[in-house]
Amino acid sequence: AQSVAQPEDQVNVAEGNPLTVKCTYSVSGNPYLFWYVQYPNRGLQFLLKYITGDNLVKGSYGFEAEFNKSQTSFHLKKPSALVSDSALYFCAVRGVSGGYNKLIFGAGTRLAVHP
């Protein structure tokens, strides 16, 4: 069965410092991986996805993610954090049984960027 793990409930970063939000996955076959962001009292917004090709994927708002097949990881990164990046971040993997677009989400990681 497909699954996603986000090992950190919260990540604290000072503004201007690089940030990493971790994600590991378990899936049979080639993974389709996603990152979404949720601002307070809002729905989830798509950030980026890995389907195939270059292991470094660039997305919205200066975020990028690195796919590592040997470590089954898909960590979200940003070179220089902004206070406005503070939000809840979800990693997701596409499920492949019964409906290809069923995404399986991790529990989420709250990112707090301090001035």
Binding site: L44, Q45, F46, F90, N101, F105
Partner: protein
């Protein structure tokens, strides 16, 4: 540009009452989904619909029902609400569910439901 509209945005409900959460999309997406979001559990899929006229069960379907009479609307019904159904509910849509589609979901703003 609306995308996905959910209603109500917030509701307090007595246990045992029937409740329908409404979801409408204007993107002509074939696939639609209902998720619930609970602290520490992330988002869990309740029901989905790959196309109008068809529905399927997700991870946590018990106590919920859906219908998909047309492309745009995908209501979620709680026939007899229980306190464990207190949650934030998100409707989402995507292009057709197929091997060639990568599956980006578009989400509504959520419906916060409290069952007392």
């Amino acid at each position: 540009i609306a995308g996905i509209t959910q209603a109500p945005t917030s509701q307090i409900l007595a246990a045992g009452r029937r409740m329908t959460l409404r979801c409408t999309q204007d993107m002509r997406h074939n696939a639609m989904y209902w998720y619930r979001q609970d602290l520490g559990l992330g988002l869990r899929l309740i029901h989905y619909s790959n196309t109008a006229g068809t529905t399927g069960k997700g991870e946590v379907p018990d106590g919920y029902s859906v219908s998909r009479a047309n492309t745009d609307d995908f209501p979620l019904t709680l026939a007899s609400a229980v306190p464990s159904q207190t949650s934030v509910y998100f409707c989402a849509s995507s292009d057709s569910a197929s091997e060639g589609n990568t599956g980006e979901l578009f989400f509504g703003e959520g419906s916060r439901l409290t069952v007392l």
